[in-house]
């Protein structure tokens, strides 16, 4: 098991290397990062020259890439294009935990609820519950994220205006004076609740459908019939024999989802003004800061690789046919 993880970690080095090349090539292909600055009267030739020197922009592309990698590895992605006093990593260090909190809360909740709904839909196939779950899922699939986010925002704002009860906050990550310790975290949860709800509702729809399909396949399998023929109670048949097999594909999907969401909750985070990965990326794009964009892409790529590794380990844990050695 440990050797397997170490080996997978070693495998991820070439993967990340390939990702870094792709990221660098595609970002530099967009154009010279200084072109826009040169037309901006606020930047003197001297400033631009300094940036050129600092980022080695006069060197050949492979050399630029090498300097970037060196910066990324030894200096934690170094500095942004424009503000030499700040560090990219300081910003990333701030926004990554925020996004992680949001994604973990919403995905774990969505997994629990989605799996439960899927299992129940499958064992009560074509029941009223099943039809209701199906309808809800299609609504969830069809609903645009921004619309759902805004509706929830309006709903909870109105509740506050009407009854002056603050159940959940509708924007930001913390109150003005959130306090410390447990108070801070309660306040944080009140802020994250609605954005998490938005993401959760969409993921529940997805996991529910996935789990239902996977469960249906499993409960009609020969070994579940064997379990019944043994005289096991239906509960044991479902939870011990069917669920574990049915979870295998769902684990894969959810791990990929986790990885993707680390970089991808852009809309939700923007609407609720959460200081996370999404708005940070938008900001970098708007200011045309190639170095921040590349750092952000690298972090996201690493997250995807990491969650894939987690998926593989879980996969092997659930399914003994996957060998670790």
């Amino acid at each position: 098991m440990v050797t397997y993880i170490i080996r997978r970690l070693l495998y991820s080095i070439p993967v990340l290397f390939a990702a870094s090349v792709l990221i660098f090539v595609s970002v530099t292909a967009v154009g010279n990062p200084l072109a826009a600055l040169k037309q901006n009267p606020l930047f003197s030739t001297q400033t631009i020259h300094n940036i050129q020197q600092r980022k080695h922009l006069n060197d050949s592309l492979p050399m630029q890439y090498a300097y970037w990698i060196k910066d990324a590895v030894t200096n934690k992605f170094g500095t942004p294009l424009l503000q030499p006093g700040t560090k990219i990593w300081d910003d990333l260090k701030r926004v990554i935990p925020h996004t992680l909190q949001l994604v973990l809360i919403s995905e774990i909740f969505a997994l629990i609820v989605g799996v439960a709904i899927g299992v129940y839909s499958a064992i009560r196939q074509y029941s009223i519950f099943d039809y209701a779950a199906t309808t809800f899922s299609f609504l969830g699939f069809a609903m645009p994220v921004f619309w759902l986010a805004l509706m929830l925002q309006i709903l909870f704002t109105n509740i506050f205006i009407k009854w002056h009860v603050r159940i959940f906050y509708t924007s930001g990550l913390s109150s003005q004076n959130p306090g410390g310790g447990i108070h801070f975290w309660i306040d944080r949860l009140q802020h994250l609740a609605i954005p998490a709800m938005t993401l959760t509702l969409l993921s529940i729809a997805q996991y529910g459908r996935f789990m239902r399909a996977s469960m249906l396949e499993v409960i009609n399998s020969d070994y579940v019939r064997t379990a019944r023929a043994k005289g096991l109670p239906e509960r044991t048949v479902t939870l011990k024999h069917a669920l574990r097999n049915a979870l295998i594909p769902v684990v894969t999907v959810s791990a990929l989802n986790f990885g993707a969401l680390i970089g991808g909750a852009v809309i939700t985070e923007s609407i609720f003004q959460l200081d996370g990965m999404g708005p940070y990326f938008l900001g970098a794009l708007l200011s045309q800061d190639a170095y921040v964009v590349m750092a952000w892409l690298m972090v996201t790529a690493t997250a995807v690789v990491a969650f894939n590794l987690i998926a593989d380990v879980l996969y092997g844990y659930i399914d003994p046919r996957i060998r670790f050695d």
């Binding site: 070994y223 019939r225 064997t226 023929a229 043994k230 005289g231 096991l232 044991t236 024999h241 003994p320």
Partner: protein, 360 residues
Amino acid sequence: MTGFATPSTRPSAERVPEPILSIRDLVVEFGTEDGVVHAVDGVSYDVFPGETLGIVGESGSGKSVSQLAILGLIPQPPGRIVSGEAKFDGNDLLKMSKKELRRLRGGEVAMIFQDPMTSLNPVLKIGLQIAEAIQAHQEDVKDKAAKERTIALLKLVGVPNPERRYDQYPHEFSGGMRQRAMIAMAIANEPKLLIADEPTTALDVTIQAQILEALKKAQEESHAATILITHDLGLIAELADRVVVMYAGRVVELTDVETLFAAPRHPYTVGLMDSLPSLTVDEDWLRPIPGQPPSLISRPPGCPFHPRCFLSQGRSRCRTEEPPLRRIGPDGHLSACHFADELAGHSSKLVDDHLAGATP
């Protein structure tokens, strides 16, 4: 005496034991998009303690479905048991609650399934799967005792190294070893009735003989009556005491195994035997039964076998009148053919071959 009401009462007066399982007029249907599939259509037979009853027939003749249905193992819907009775030890299985039926399954009635590759749970250890069968019925058995019993069972059915095998997963077992594990699981609670649904079909020929040995041993150990569902007449000849021949969801012939091979009295049975390759006569072609099994949604009128029957020869009675299962010979030999008598004196090719081999 109608013969049909009590189809398998053995007339031999010296012992008339109570059947352990007595199925009467069982009708099982499946609702599909194309129509209702009459999978089992009025089937009756008995299984007596200690005997092995063979059930033969082509795929889709209702052999397995009748067994799965009475144990509540067919998915409902689309399946449904329309009518009939299945008395096990005097109690009607079809009237039992789900809970009572569950207690019976794997306890007094155990099943061995066709495909050991898919019939074991791939993510659970073999030992655990057998031990849980024990503990499902004997709740007071501790984990340690269940493990010991499991290892003993694995040893009994011929799994070498049972202590090590206990902790292995199904994918670490070969097909034959898995089927042994299935047999061990089935006899774990000393069933009174063992239902083996094509136990060797999915296995290599070389493994089949070994599995039969394990099955025989299991039978001896548990003293269980056995229903052997198969399409392999060789297996029937080897293991069965009495034989039920099924066609299109019905019983077409029922007799003891010697009579079946020596004097088959249904053209379908004769056709089945003639389709086997001969060992003594040089044959270029196999002789299959012509045509296809009928659709179970719209069955041909009259005798369901008449479109493929060599005996019918276009007689209108075969096309219009459904032949009842009736007594046609001594020892409760039953056949559902209008013209069963015309087969009198006909012995199966197998017996002919045997005689030919004996007197070259």
